[in-house]
Amino acid sequence: MPPPATPNLNRRLLLQTLSAGTSFWAAPALWAQTTAAPGKIAAQAHPTGLDGNIDSNGRLVVVFLRGAYDGLSALVPHADPHYYRLRPNIAIAAPDGSAQSTLALDAQFGLHPALAGLAPLWQQGLLGVIPAAGSPDPTRSHFDAQYHWELGMPSLSGAGTGWLNRLAAPFSRTVALGVGEANPLMLSGPAPVQLVPRGLAATRQGVLGDERTRQAVMNLYSGDDALSKAFRAGADSRIQTAQTLSAGASQNAMMRSEMVAANNGAGSPQGLLLDAQHLGTLMRQNRHLRLGFLSAGGWDTHANQGAANGNLAQNLGNLSTALLQLRRDFSEANDVVLVCSEFGRTTAENGTRGTDHGHGNALWLMGNAVQGGRWHGQWHGLAPDRLHEGRDLPVHHDFRAVIAQVLLRSQGLDRHALALLFPGFAWDASLNGLMRA
């Protein structure tokens, strides 16, 4: 909610500039061969426009966990006595080899047992993590923090162009796909994006499947107005989506319970698997799609979050299954999956065996180009004097700096383009080893 008089007019102006979208962001040079990136990046410049030519840049999938997931339960600092002091009832037990305890990754960190399925990816060096990342803005409002993440601009709230949409802008074809939400902010903006609903609804053509009815409906939207154009684009996209997914459905062994869960429309973590399958199928069949977005809710665990078992464990188990599914579809050289949340939760459990809103959080990266099998960046433990405001994990690494490393390496963006994408962010050289050379 903007206050009546804002002292931040310059921010507003910036927002308007960015909302203007294409004019600001249209220079294809932004996507040209990178000069700063190391290694064998095969990004190609397409001076006449970027479609029509599938380059070897990877695909990027963002999995956004809405509600602030408890990273300290996912990536457990099992060697830190403060962790067990702060969380007498909900800490994940130190590794003891049992399925009720932390699965050790190294001397410091381990995985929640519900994430055990991801351990092989860690061992193969395909999964990495930044334990204390996030937004430099200290807000503890879910909604403000989500704005910041989705616009890619900490401290900026309100309507605007999502950073995935800005990334999609130079292309004349649709290159971005969202599965699940009606219109997630991270994808919204002037560049066209494909939005597919959650669950099995995505597989149906509905009235468009019948030639005569379709024609009758299309006749209502034959005009040149924006709504008619949107409808026609939607009809094309939907028919293709449904055809692709129906063809792919036999390949996906979907359990009935998952389908049912996916159809409740509430963005349940159970539904994430089906959405991940849909995203994978659509991006496999249409190679122009290179930016993907998925989300799941239900992470705001203020009370009774459980430990090795319980609500959070169940959510993490579902997340793990969905990530393994994504790994199947996004395993080319430069494909990267990013798993993130708007902020972390309090290091200490609260009075109701849950956790309240915190600050820094663990951010995960999966892909062949990721320097996986290890954690990156700073970590100073959970001693009281190491915490943000005496209670939360600090943000040692700006989320934009993390994403910038990924984009530089796997999407062929250069430093100049990154500075335009994330105005005001600072390159974080301490993360330079995040991606493989």
């Binding site: 909610m1 009235v207 468009l208 939607g234 203020h302 009075g351």
Partner: protein, 520 residues
Amino acid sequence: MDTTPPELALLQRRNTLKRLASGASLLGLSGRQAWAQASDSTSSTATLDAWRAMSRVGYGPSPGLISTLQSAPNARTWALAQVDAAFAASQTRPLVAPDLVTFNASLPQLFEGVQRERELRTQNKTERLVDLNAEASRHLDFSAPLDPAYFNRTVQQQTAVWRLGSCSQPDAENPLLARMTEFWFNHLNVFVGKGQVRPFTGHYLVSVARAHALGKFEDLLLASARHPAMLYYLDQVQSVAEGSPGPQGRTRGLNENYARELLELHTLGVNGGYQQTDVRALARVLTGWTVGPDESNGFRFNQRLHDNGRKAVMGQTYPSHLLGGGEREGAEVIRWLARHPATAQRISLRLARFFVADQPPPELVARLTQSYLASQGDVRVLMKELLASAEFWHPEQRLFKTPMDFACSALTATQTQTPSTGAGPVDRRHLTLALGFLAGAGQPLHGWQTPDGYPFDAATWLAPEALTRRADFALSLTRQTPELEFLSPFLGTATRAALSRERPALRAGLALASPDFMYK
């Protein structure tokens, strides 16, 4: 609960309306002629006003509502008169069909039903409970006796049926009251998908959102704060003074969830000037506020679990010298927050967005804020100001329908037109379709998971594929619906021309799927 007399009265009224609407349309035209009529009536102010009044004050036209409007001097007068009419209606019990009454039973009865289901499920852990009403439940048919092992599910479904009925039968529920109930339920959102909240969502809808829809905001806010649905949803039920005794010799303490959202979403807004220390202090003020399963209002203040220490929330100290401590602290801070200028501004802006435009004129918001402060948050005063404003009626202030708007307006337009199926006043199959549509569109009924409530703007809901799903819903809803000629005057020339060329059987669905029907 005795609901028979008003139900009968309603049916009689509906029959009268059916006679009015049957046969020739209200325009005296029919079929192709109605759709193809040459004069472009949509451009006339009277038609535009009527559409806006019916679609924003309520959920769109039905033949009955059109004739009601026609008997008023004009649409603007009618709209303004709805404020007092809706207030009067809010002070009476809602009409609830006889097979739906469980959802609106007393809170002790609801708690008892929940307890009974829990016991049955514990006893039958090893055996599978036979779901005798599974098939009936899928069709929203509650004629069989309620199975106590499925109490929660039944109550949730009854709530959904009542809600969609109240938002699509302007002769059963005052349309503005249904609108305001939506606004407040969403402003003080609870999520039916959270297990403990589930059986209380319908009661919350009726006794909090509806009952206080046109009263003082602070009374609404307090009712919400004390209701089991909210107490469970934002975990207030468990939040107690730090170090309070817990089970097995362990201690319990504070949970910040409700306190934060009370400041951020229900009242001041995120830039309202509070700090993290205020969130903590407010949570401490509210310790001891919990559910009371045996109390008629479902609320209990547990003095033993209350933090009696000195707390300061935004400069206000509790306990205060004037009012004392304990439960009064919470009531006092909630009223103080409700009267705060930042709250006035936030509520005014949200009302203007809901009723006027995604980016409402700042002058209107400023006037509403002044009215709010002058009236101490009297919603009737605000709504009169809003509905009398030039901004509300200005044709350039367009609003794209949310999925909820779309579903309810389509139901409103079709219900009285559907040949009777013997299923009662509302065709439950239509409601099943509507619930599926809402879930697929990302706005499941009572199913918004996070406490911010759903947005109302086109930026959220106007998405290409989603538009085509509106057409799906419109066409499946109208498989047996006669042409909706009464909509003709509100549709543009191009749409009417397109409809006149189509088979009559498709016309009702196409009218609802048309671009004209997407705006309110």
